[in-house]
């Protein structure tokens, strides 16, 4: 029997801390513990041996802190340190078996993997793929050296954990155990909670999950019920010897072995399948734990049957109370979104997402499918981009399996997938991906024969899908059935068939359900009347989640009313809050007195005062009066921006005002753009400008401010983001024939990359001017690194770009 067969069947013991023991044996502060695998292997083996002799079943190789980022500063490779660590642990196992005789069974060597110590993009430094590669290197070395399992521990970023788990599962057959470091409130440092990460890890198919480090056994007792309530996997608990205290500048853990063992025993009674220790625990701690717990029956591991999706920081459970899935990020029938996708205008997509979150969506559908675009790449960009700013779980919506896989792979959490159907081909292509990434899959009740007209027909397809999913190892809880909605304008029985199917799926088959609600009224006038009535009927018949437009007040009113009526809204608080939100909208701008007093301001004043709504309205009025778009821009908009820009340069006006005016001008442009595009025209571009925060630098607000202003003045901005490689900038300049580049750097340490970028542009004769800005730069510095222009503030770049434009150099 191997570890995978044992865990969850019988109580297993893990080992305890390593760091403190090494310090006692002379490891100095700042010294990397894993180097001792090569420098003092006998010390490491002795510690491994002591733990095994204390009775643990799983001994962790001394490999916790090894990774390619740390090895850069060391004289050893990842392969050497990891390989040596695993071999030492194996050798300790052999020697213990020799000592204790053949009777000694159940010893496993864990390849111990900790955090890379880097934050992942989009909010951090390294990409998901870079993290994956770093973990793969460790895992391949550990597997080669003979590890029995992979133990990913003391991690607190679910995205990093996902990269590690995928690296383990895609490159080895080893069992994977993940234990995370939570604080006393049950939160990871990155904000995730117990249920959200557990859902993700179960989906990814790990063998056991649990807690380690951070807390002592007493604190973990308080947290464990949260885990047992949602977890369908064996649980591993490795606490510290209490909370740390600092004595003489040294971190100490003060819970003694006996007391520790007693608490750990309770953890086993509460549902842990395996226990051990972490910081501050010693072989003596483990010996006492084994003595006190050996032979205990563990709580059987049961499937909790929960249908859950999660984002990086919270889980959303399907239950009696229906959920709202926002449908707006889908180009079907939305020309503006189509255009945004063609232009890679992610901002438009993010705004759609934020608006839906604001309006009460629980999950966002993300569909970026257009025939002429690279859908897998765009799906990846949309998923990671949305997750950088929105906390809601996402539903990856596509029929392109490559886009599906990309979306699921780079998703942070347990995703929802839309969709599979009863066709053989669909199930064969979708289920393996859904299984691998642990998605909750939307299943459409149709197959090769089309959409069945009868309830029985649809149920038959639903059953076929459930059975086929099972053959891929996908449980019912990870399937959400779509009974399908056809408009009643083409068949008066359509609603009845859908509702009855829904009822049977939910109440007889016991699966959760989803519907694209508004299809019901296609082709009819005043659709919202039918939609709301149908939505309520569907929820009453067992709809678990409605794919709707959360901006529709009528639909949301139906939703909140329904919850209040079925007793899922305590004291009707959500319903009342929704009503008040509606009222606030009716009283125009009650919260923004400035906008109100502005009334019917002229465009010029609206922009100078920075009032977006007034500027938008004023522009619409002007357009209705048949004022030419061009003269609005040149005679009102730009002069108003100039007034503000001048005020800013003369220090009569300040940055927030400058940006408020920029936002107001943007609102005005939106109105103009709409009119122009109706006439089949575009605003004339004054030229393309590439803008970027240089390699190594992560501060991009300054760059974004400059971009906003230049856009207003009619320049077409190609924004490459932050931490941009010089080669990428060069390529973009060459491919787009760009004549001006703006570079930003905040730190002295990153100005070197600014210099490198300029050098490269000159060497390759890119034929562009370079303007630079950023906190540490000065005119002198800019001259030194060969920039053409130093902009001391955001307006400086506008002046320079305008001057180049007027000289015909753009």
């Amino acid at each position: 029997m191997g570890f995978r067969e044992e865990i969850g069947k019988e109580l297993l013991f893990f080992d305890g801390g390593m760091g403190t023991l090494l310090q006692e044996r002379g490891l100095k502060a700042g010294e990397v513990p894993e180097t001792w695998n090569l420098l003092h292997p006998e010390v490491i083996e002795q510690i491994n041996r002591e733990y095994l002799l204390a009775g643990c079943n799983v001994v962790s190789a001394n490999t916790f802190g090894v990774n390619r980022f740390k090895c850069k500063d060391l004289a050893y490779s990842v392969d050497e340190l990891v390989g040596a660590g695993v071999r030492i642990a194996r050798s300790a196992m052999v020697s213990v078996r020799d000592t204790e005789g053949g009777a000694r069974q159940k010893m496993y060597c864990a390849l111990d993997i900790g955090s890379l110590g880097k934050l992942l993009k989009p909010l951090g430094e390294i990409s998901f793929d870079e993290a994956y590669d770093a973990f793969r290197e460790i895992i391949l070395a550990g597997d080669k050296a003979g590890a029995d399992l992979v133990l990913i521990e003391t991690v607190s970023d679910p995205y990093e954990i996902k990269a590690a788990v995928l690296a383990a599962k895609e490159n080895t057959k080893l069992p994977v155990v993940v234990t995370m470091i939570f604080d006393e409130n049950g939160k990871l440092l990155t904000g995730g909670d117990v249920e959200s990460v557990t859902a993700m890890l179960e989906g990814l198919g790990v063998d056991a999950v649990g807690f380690n480090c951070g807390l002592g056994p007493e604190q973990m007792k308080k947290l464990l019920p949260e885990l047992t309530a949602c977890c369908s996997l064996p649980i591993v608990i490795n606490p510290n010897a209490g909370l740390p205290v600092v004595v003489n500048g040294q971190t100490m853990f003060t819970v003694e072995p006996d007391e520790f063992a007693k608490s750990v025993r309770t953890l086993v009674e509460m549902g842990a399948s395996a226990v051990g220790g972490c910081c501050g625990t010693t072989p003596e701690h483990i010996r006492r734990v084994v003595a006190l717990c050996n032979g205990m029956k563990i709580t059987p591991v049961t499937d909790k049957g929960l249908t859950v999706v999660s984002s990086y920081n919270h889980a959303v459970r399907f239950s009696r109370k229906p959920l709202i899935i926002g449908e707006r990020i889908n180009p079907t029938g939305k020309p503006k979104l189509k255009q945004a996708l063609r232009d890679s205008n992610m901002e438009y997509i993010y705004k759609e997402g934020l608006a839906q979150e604001e309006n009460g969506a629980h999950i966002l559908d993300v569909n970026v499918g257009l025939p002429e675009i690279d859908e897998p790449a765009l799906m990846q960009e949309a998923v990671t981009g949305i997750q950088a700013i929105i906390d809601l779980p996402l539903q990856i919506d596509t029929s392109d399996t490559a886009a599906m896989e990309r979306g699921l792979r780079y998703y942070n959490g347990k995703p929802m997938l839309n969709s599979v159907n009863g066709k053989k081909e669909s199930m064969e292509s979708v289920f393996p991906i859904a299984k691998k990434y642990g998605a909750v899959v939307v299943c459409l009740c149709l197959d090769e024969d089309g959409i069945p007209e009868t309830v029985e027909g649809r149920i038959k397809v639903a059953r076929k899908i459930v059975d086929t999913a099972a053959s891929y190892g996908i449980a019912k809880k990870n399937l959400v059935m779509d009974a399908l909605v056809l408009t009643i304008s083409t068949g008066q029985d359509n609603a009845r068939v859908t509702l009855e199917t829904l009822y049977k799926i939910r109440h007889e088959m016991g699966l959760h359900t989803v519907l694209g609600v508004s299809n019901i009224s296609f082709g009819l006038p005043d659709r919202v009347k039918i939609n709301t009535a149908f939505f309520t009927m569907a929820m009453h018949n067992g709809l678990s989640a409605g794919i709707v437009n959360p901006a529709s007040e009528a639909m949301m009113a139906a939703y909140y009313s329904f919850n209040a009526l079925i007793g899922e809204d305590e004291q009707c608080m959500a319903y009342i809050a929704q009503c008040e939100k509606g009222k606030a909208k009716e009283e125009p701008q009650a919260k923004a007195p400035r906008q109100q007093e502005a009334g019917a301001l002229g465009l010029h004043d609206a922009i100078v005062k920075g009032l977006s709504e007034s500027a938008h309205q004023a522009t619409i009025r002007l357009l209705e009066e048949k004022t030419q778009a061009l003269s609005i821009i040149n005679e009102m908009l730009i002069p108003a921006l100039d007034v503000v820009g001048k005020g800013f340069e003369e220090k009569r006006m300040f940055l927030p005002q400058l940006l408020m005016s920029a936002d107001a001008a943007k609102a005005s442009f939106e109105a103009i753009k709409e009119t122009l595009s109706k006439q089949g025209q575009n605003r004339e571009s004054k030229g393309k400008i590439v803008i970027a925060t240089v390699k190594g630098d992560i501060h991009d607000i300054g760059k974004n401010i400059v971009k906003t202003l230049l856009e207003n003045y009619g320049f077409e901005m190609i924004d490459l983001g932050k931490d941009v490689e010089p080669e990428v900038i060069l390529r973009t300049v060459q491919e787009n024939g760009v004549r001006l580049v703006g570079l930003s750097a905040l730190m002295t340490t990153t100005v070197v990359y600014m210099e490198e970028t300029i050098k490269l542009l000159r060497e390759k004769d890119a034929g562009c001017k370079v303007m630079v800005g950023g906190a540490v730069l000065t005119q002198e510095y800019a001259d030194m690194i060969g920039a053409d222009f130093y902009s001391k503030d955001a307006m400086g770049s506008v002046r320079y770009a305008n001057a180049l434009y007027e000289r015909g150099e753009l």
């Binding site: 502060a29 700042g30 980022f69 500063d73 955090s115 110590g117 880097k118 934050l119 989009p122 909010l123 951090g124 430094e125 003391t154 607190s156 470091i181 604080d183 939160k187 440092l189 990155t190 904000g191 480090c213 909370l243 740390p244 205290v245 600092v246 004595v247 003489n248 500048g249 971190t251 901002e347 993010y350 705004k351 934020l354 950088a388 700013i389 929105i390 400035r594 920075g610 220090k651 300040f654 940055l655 927030p656 005002q657 940006l659 408020m660 920029a662 936002d663 190594g696 630098d697 992560i698 501060h699 991009d700 607000i701 974004n704 401010i705 906003t708 730190m747 002295t748 340490t749 990153t750």
Partner: protein, 234 residues
């Protein structure tokens, strides 16, 4: 030092932090100098601060060490650092702390969110978050002072925080700083290859503690009558 101190992962309640944030500093970050913003911008600052307090969970960790200097070198605990500027800052300090503090990922998320939605608001988030991390450090250094005072049995006064990268103190010591404090595991603070920090609204600093009140900038400000000074540190 024979002192027991809580391993600092101090979380502060919002009220305390809200009271500690300096509006003047926010206005200064926004480029106002000593000018007062108009009512609309003041209202925006209020709005952003309350949003910020709603999402951030600041965390910090620190260690207190014996400290001495010899003009060119600083000795903090077992650590010997070459920096005349830091030695100057810590000249009269028998005690010094290493502090790492962060507002956490949520501040970065909020900033990114408004860079999409509303650039003016984003600039205010940036300024408020910067003032917030400073205010948070001001609160934590009071804890540090309290701990250190208990140990040395005499009133101590705080010197201005001195961060890696200031003056002749090389940014490279960030690496050692991170390893001594174990910031990544304890408060989720990470260091990039170029020695910048993620989450971005974070501070690492040496904090000197002196017995001489004359040597303390806060004490100096307290005695100064110019209460509307933009650089007042109270």
């Amino acid at each position: 030092m024979g002192l027991e101190q809580k391993d600092g992962m101090m979380e502060r309640n919002d009220k305390e932090l809200a009271d500690a944030v300096s509006r003047n500093e926010i206005y200064r970050y926004l480029g106002y100098g000593t000018n007062a913003p108009d009512a609309a911008v003041c209202a925006l600052v209020d709005e952003v601060l309350s949003e910020l307090f709603g999402v951030i969970k600041p965390k910090s960790c620190y260690r207190i060490y014996d400290c001495r200097t010899d003009g060119e070198y600083v000795f903090v605990g077992d650590w010997k650092i070459k920096s005349a500027n830091l030695a100057g800052n810590l000249a009269q300090c028998g005690t010094a702390a290493l502090l790492a503090a962060t507002l956490g990922l949520e501040a970065d998320k909020l900033l990114q969110r408004y860079e999409v939605l509303n650039m003016a608001k984003a600039s205010v988030v940036q300024a408020c978050a910067a003032a917030c991390i400073e205010a948070y450090c001001n609160l934590i250094q009071e804890d540090i002072r309290f701990d250190a005072q208990k140990q040395c049995g005499a009133p101590l006064f705080i010197r201005p925080r001195f961060s890696p990268g200031y003056g002749d103190l090389p940014l490279e010591i960030q690496r050692e700083f991170f390893s001594v404090l174990d910031c990544t595991k304890r408060i989720g603070l990470t260091l990039t290859q170029n020695l910048l920090m993620y989450p971005t609204k974070s501070v690492t600093a040496f904090i000197g503690l002196t017995r001489n009140p004359e040597n303390c900038h806060i004490e100096k400000c307290k005695r100064c009558g110019k209460t509307d000074c933009a650089f007042r540190v109270l």
